[in-house]
């Protein structure tokens, strides 16, 4: 019985950081960061540029090891096991120029041992569902910045991991495209319930996409405040001018000061 409770608690927590620190040479990038993310939850990490947000994602993903503190993904602390549970969408889309959009999205499936034909067959429906149906065969150089980010997101999604780590996914886009993609990503994430950690420096983006916002301090990064986001359903345009949205926004901006 005790065991059962233990396991259910364990599986309910997707990502757990306790006092995690990371230093690069003389620079302390992260200072005793604490964070708990439940399975299926979407958490935005919000903070100024260079506050160690990307470092945090690299640590969680198992690409790097913390210098202090404890870190677990799905109960596993080993870097290799963390890596097996996380998919990272980097700031730059990093699409491979020699692969079509569809084949870029298929990368993880092929790495997992599927034949290219089988991987394509599995990726195809998602392409259509998420509005990329006509772009399957396009080469990355033929796609706009917004389309490239969509393909990069699909690539992350198709890795089939429980935890999606999105590192400023729309940071390099113009504001109109970014607004459109925020709505798109909201729908896509609603469809695919996964645990999401989203790094951003855009307060609106954090509120639109996350259930909870963790506000980070300037370097060395610490979690300053956590704000639960509980907005009524609605389109992006309706939400951004609604009273609860503006109130949360105010709350976060205050924490950032």
């Amino acid at each position: 019985m005790q065991d059962l409770i233990e396991t259910s608690v364990e599986t309910a927590t997707a990502v757990e950081l306790a006092g995690v620190s990371k230093r690069y040479g003389d620079v302390l990038a992260l200072d005793r960061a604490d964070l708990t993310v439940r399975r299926g939850e979407r958490v935005a990490l919000l903070g100024p540029s260079g506050c160690g947000k990307s470092t945090l994602l690299a640590l969680i993903a198992g690409l790097e090891e913390p210098d202090g503190g404890a870190l677990a993904v799905g109960g596993a602390t080993d870097a290799r096991e963390r890596l097996a549970q996380c998919a990272l969408m980097p700031q730059r889309d990093l699409l491979l120029p020699w692969r079509s959009a569809l084949d870029n999205a298929c990368l993880a499936l092929e790495n997992q041992g599927l034949s290219r034909a089988e991987a394509r067959r599995r990726a195809q429906p998602l392409f259509a569902e998420l509005g990329l149906a006509e772009f399957e065969r396009a080469r990355p150089s033929e796609l706009s910045g917004g389309m490239r980010q969509r393909v990069a997101f699909l690539r992350t999604l198709l890795a089939g991991k429980d935890v999606l780590l999105l590192d400023e996914p729309f940071g390099a886009l113009d504001s109109l495209t970014r607004a459109a993609l925020q709505g798109w990503l909201r729908d896509a994430l609603d469809r695919e319930r996964r645990t999401v950690l989203l790094v951003t420096h855009d307060v609106e983006e954090a509120l639109l996409l996350a259930d909870r916002v963790a506000v980070l301090s300037p370097r060395p990064g610490r979690v300053l405040a956590e704000v639960a986001v509980d907005l009524p359903p609605g389109t992006r345009r309706e939400l951004v001018v609604s009273a609860p949205f503006l109130e949360l926004r105010e709350q976060i901006l205050e924490a950032l000061e």
Partner: protein, 255 residues
């Protein structure tokens, strides 16, 4: 439309070439230089036409040496580059030797190889491959390391093993640099073949030149050089063409 643009791009070269050949003809005619001393373009052209059988037969011998040697160098070079890429220890051991091997003058090496392998095709292949394989190894080796570190990290989170990373990222990323190496190698192939033939052979354009010199058949030497240049250019062009087909994305990036 596409042909027109090709012609327009080649036009300056063709005009310059025509001007040089024209001037050469005029000067030789005016100075009344004997053909054995410095033949006019017309004399070279006459040799090309008169000696067509001899030249064609020997050009084919040289072309075969060039092609086979180049193919050998490409295969060995690519394999070696991949090996160096996968093992840091092998890289540290082999790379300095590789560089050192290039300081040995091929002119000196050629007679030794002839002694070892005889008058046949083999020593020529070895010499052509020897001069060609270095740019291939260096080009592909650099190319394999050219992929951004970010791609490595990305591939790791996408469940890639070392072999997946090699096949899907590093190898395609290495192609532009590899083809640069192959183009240089293509240009070297003709030199290698002629060196090999000079060191000892009974056929090939190098042999024709060697035989023509004491006979003062200078126009034939020039005709051989013309053919050799054409063959080297053709190989270079073929490599460029294959590159366009194999690496279509490199032109996207440039555009």
């Amino acid at each position: 439309m596409r042909w027109a643009s090709h012609v327009r791009r080649a036009a300056p070269t063709l005009v310059l070439l025509a001007a040089v050949v024209g001037l050469w003809e005029v000067v030789v005619q005016a100075a009344n230089t004997p053909a054995w001393l410095w033949p006019s373009p017309a004399a070279v052209a006459r040799s090309l036409a008169d000696d067509d059988g001899l030249l064609a037969r020997n050009a084919w011998v040289t072309a075969r040496e060039m092609l086979l040697g180049f193919a050998l160098a490409a295969a060995v070079g690519m394999l070696l580059a991949a090996l160096l890429h996968f093992s840091a220890a092998v890289r540290r051991a082999v790379y300095p030797i590789l560089v050192a091997s290039q300081t040995v003058p091929v002119v000196v090496l050629a007679p030794i190889l002839v002694v070892a392998f005889g008058y046949g095709l083999l020593p020529k292949l070895a010499i052509v491959a020897l001069v060609c394989f270095f740019p291939v190894v260096v080009g592909m080796s650099d190319g394999l390391r050219s992929a951004d570190r970010q791609y490595r990290r990305l591939m790791l989170t996408l469940d890639a093993g070392a072999l997946d990373l090699f096949r899907r990222v590093e190898l395609p990323a290495s192609l532009p640099a590899l083809f640069s190496g192959l183009r240089i190698a293509a240009a070297y192939a003709a030199i290698g073949a002629v060196f090999g033939e000079w060191a000892g052979s009974g056929s090939g354009l190098g042999y024709v030149m060697q035989q023509a010199a004491p006979a003062l058949a200078t126009p034939r030497i020039f005709a051989s050089v013309v053919l050799l240049t054409a063959m080297a250019l053709a190989l270079f062009g073929a490599v460029t063409l294959v590159e366009r087909l194999a690496v279509p994305w490199s032109r996207d990036a440039a555009a």
